[in-house]
């Protein structure tokens, strides 16, 4: 079968499967769910996808549903977006961040122990950020002391997404305070049920409790749970952070393209089909959303051809996050006072049509995963090669 024919048949296969298996009417069912109910719904949906063979297309081929080429992965995500399925949020850290870290840097015992559990639904969270270490992640302070064959951890983590449901945590700790800050970091796999782990969900502006604080008091982590060597955790963390390159933003851009339907609905609902100003702003948004789709596609096509220039991912991310903001702002403008009335939030999507909630959620994309400003630094300094500021500022 030619490449194209093969992808077309895969597309048909995924579409047919989704018609039979994707949760129907999930938006109504999810509206007003508690966060815990949402987490359960996510577990169920993940297991359905695992059974269908579409949950881990990026894993190697020994795994059921794994071994998909990037082109095949793209087809699968396009179809998930097209079918407007709930997004996989709860399993994201486990299937991408944890799995890639283990596959790239874990030892055989760790892989054999954890990869099957991830497929069975074990959930993971990421414990990188701290109150004092955000964009400057390498300045993290959460301390680990080696005592025999355990590390004893003391410190605090923050903004850890869905940590309240997690079984395991990808944890970055400081094992050496001398020398370069990157050189004293160690990467551990921490059991969330271990003694001394306290997780507190954080109340967020949209009424959600998506991320958590984590307090670690004398938590013991066995040395065999270390990934890579002691003090070599920074390089491991890079594997974690680059685990997902482009597919999510492509999927999300396509979802936003489909969700332009919601803006169109508002235009009709408010009788503004012939309001030239609104039509122009809508047309501008359409062009921007289409450009976000086009650049996400281009990034993936380049990767399929082995091309990835430094900064490309930053351009894609900032394009998406900006356009997402523009999208929600137009919705708010059209929605008027009604959208200032608090409606229950629907989990599982960023373009829900609850415009204030969508607007607030759009900040996740301009702040997390390397903020918009940090991406600008990358584009300026590494793509445009503008000179870096001298290091070593001291108050």
């Amino acid at each position: 079968m030619s490449d194209d024919a093969h992808l077309i048949s895969l597309r048909d296969e995924v579409r047919t499967w989704l018609e039979a298996n994707a949760p129907k009417g999930w938006r109504d069912a999810y509206a007003g769910m508690t966060h815990a109910e949402f987490a359960q719904a996510q577990r169920d949906w993940f297991q359905t996808l695992v059974r269908g063979g579409y949950a881990i297309p990026h894993w190697p081929k020994e795994w059921p549903g794994g071994g998909r080429s990037l082109a095949e992965q793209k087809v699968i995500y396009e179809e998930l977006a097209q079918a407007d399925c709930p997004r996989l949020l709860l399993s994201f850290v486990s299937t991408y961040h944890a799995a890639s870290t283990l596959m790239e840097c874990g030892n055989d015992t760790q892989k054999a122990r954890y990869l099957p559990r991830i497929l069975e639904g074990e959930t993971w969270c990421q414990g990188f950020s701290e109150p004092g270490a955000g964009s400057d992640l390498a300045s993290l302070k959460c301390k680990a002391e080696r005592r025999g064959d355990v590390y004893v951890i003391n410190g605090q983590k923050v903004w850890s997404t869905m940590a309240q449901y997690a079984d395991k945590c990808l944890l970055l700790v400081r094992t050496n305070s001398e020398g370069a800050k990157q050189a004293g970091i160690t990467f551990l796999l921490m059991d969330m049920k271990a003694k001394g782990v306290t997780v507190k969900p954080i109340n967020q502006i949209q009424g959600d409790q998506e991320f958590c604080e984590m307090f670690l008091d004398d938590v013991e982590v066995p040395v065999e749970e270390r990934v890579g060597e002691e003090n070599a955790g920074w390089a491991v963390a890079q594997a974690t952070l680059s685990s997902e390159r482009g597919l999510t933003l492509m999927e999300l851009s396509y979802r936003m393209r489909g969700a332009l339907r919601r803006v169109a609905g508002l235009i009709r609902q408010h009788g503004r089909e012939n309001d030239q100003g609104i039509l122009r702003d809508f047309g501008q948004l359409v062009a921007r959303v289409d450009s976000a789709c086009a650049i996400a596609d281009q990034f993936l096509l380049n990767r399929m051809n082995g091309i990835e220039r430094v900064g490309d991912a930053s351009v894609v991310k900032n394009t998406y996050s900006r356009v997402l903001r523009e999208y929600s702002l137009l919705g708010l403008r059209l929605g008027g006072l009604e959208e200032q009335t608090r409606h229950a939030i629907t989990y599982g999507d960023l373009n829900t049509g609850n415009w204030m909630a969508d607007f607030m959620n759009s900040y996740a994309w301009t702040i997390a995963g390397g903020s918009e400003e940090v991406q600008r630094n990358i584009v300026a300094e590494r793509m445009l090669e503008m000179q870096r500021e001298p290091k070593g500022w001291a108050a």
């Binding site: 332009l260 339907r261 169109a264 609905g265 235009i267 009709r268 089909e273 030239q276 609104i278 039509l279 122009r280 702003d281 809508f282 047309g283 501008q284 359409v286 062009a287 921007r288 289409d290 450009s291 976000a292 086009a294 650049i295 596609d297 281009q298 930053s314 351009v315 900032n318 394009t319 900006r322 400003e373 991406q375 600008r376 630094n377 584009v379 300026a380 300094e381 793509m383 445009l384 090669e385 503008m386 000179q387 870096r388 500021e389």
Partner: protein
């Protein structure tokens, strides 16, 4: 099949980035020698049979160097010649046009009346480089024809544009009888040619804008890297870095959209119009910022900043203004979500 990247390489070798505003007549000759005028003509008719993305690729490179030769109009008219159904000696016309005989067309909306006996009265605004053209193509309701610029009743007057990288002329035609063999097409076939010309113009201006935008941004970034104030290169100031990064990011998105649309045969004129919105808007923004970020030198006639700025401002006006395309894109998508 010629790859777009090969075309791009050839164009950037023939017109190196450091030679802005190449002399027009030499540039025109070089473009003809490179075979560019044959790109839009089908292989059966002796052309290269390349798609609209090929023309866009070359035009983008010409935008980069503020190209002065009238390739936007020439590529469109040669394509129209290829699509002609009634033209006498069509093959001869195509050969001459491919070899460098320039057939012009108006880039702004014409006023046209075609009376009994095919007597034409017309005002054709914004005809590029009419001084070097033998004919101009007139496309009106249900007809498309060639008018010799030296015919009696035809006047050609240069407009003095702010943008000196292009020369535009106004052509008027009074009481001119179109010879039967000079019609490219009539009726629906002519309307189709006219539509293709209008769409092609939108794409061409968008491509030119992206080339200009990229060149202007890199010129500006290079300047910031070398200009020192406060004992450091200006490029080190984050306020300036972030402005440049945002321009680069917006340019990247505009480029992605344009190349996706240029390569998509199913893209509607409105879809191309959306690509023009982003392309011309980012060219305007980059050119506007370029002057600011160059400081005083950016206001001098000697520096290239203003040439980019003036071309960016002109491009906004060619091929339909951005608000028109925004509105059409809005209507198109609104209609697509009809339920």
């Amino acid at each position: 099949m010629i790859e777009l990247s090969e075309l791009q390489d050839a164009a950037s070798k023939a017109f190196p980035a450091d030679q802005l505003r190449p002399e027009r007549d030499a540039a025109w000759q070089l473009a003809a020698e490179m075979g560019w005028l044959m790109m839009p003509v089908s292989e059966e008719a002796g052309g290269l049979g390349l798609g609209r993305d090929a023309s866009a690729t070359v035009l983008c490179e010409m935008g980069r160097v503020l190209g002065t030769a009238p390739l936007i109009s020439a590529l469109l008219t040669v394509q129209a010649l290829g699509e002609a159904s009634e033209l006498t000696d069509q093959q001869g016309w195509i050969e001459r046009a491919c070899a460098g005989e320039y057939i012009a067309m108006n880039l702004d909306r014409a006023t046209i009346s075609l009376g009994a006996g095919d007597v034409l009265d017309a005002t054709l605004p914004a005809v590029p480089d009419a001084d070097m053209a033998s004919h101009t193509l007139v496309f009106g309701p249900e007809f498309c024809a060639l008018v010799p610029l030296d015919a009696p009743g035809v006047t050609v007057t240069e407009r003095h544009m702010w943008d000196e990288s292009r020369r535009l002329f106004d052509v008027t035609v009074a009481d001119h009888t179109i010879e039967p063999g000079m019609f490219l097409a009539k009726g629906a076939a002519a309307t189709a040619i006219g539509d293709a010309l209008r769409t092609g113009l939108v794409l061409a201006v968008a491509a030119d804008s992206l080339g200009g935008a990229a060149a202007c941004l890199s010129m500006t970034v290079e300047y910031l890297k070398t200009r020192r104030q406060f004992d450091r290169p200006l490029a080190m100031f984050q306020a300036l870095k972030h402005r440049c990064a945002d321009l680069k990011i917006e340019l990247g998105a505009a480029e992605a959209l344009l190349w996706a649309r240029a390569g998509d045969e199913a893209a509607t004129t409105t879809d191309i119009g959306s690509a023009k919105v982003l392309a011309c808007d980012i060219f305007r923004k980059i050119a506007e910022e370029a002057i600011q970020l160059h400081g005083g030198i950016g206001l001098t006639d000697e520096h290239m900043c203003h040439l980019f700025m003036k071309r960016a401002m002109l491009n906004l006006q060619l091929g339909g203004d951005l608000d028109v395309w925004r509105e059409r894109a809005g209507r198109q998508v609104l209609a697509s979500f009809a339920d």
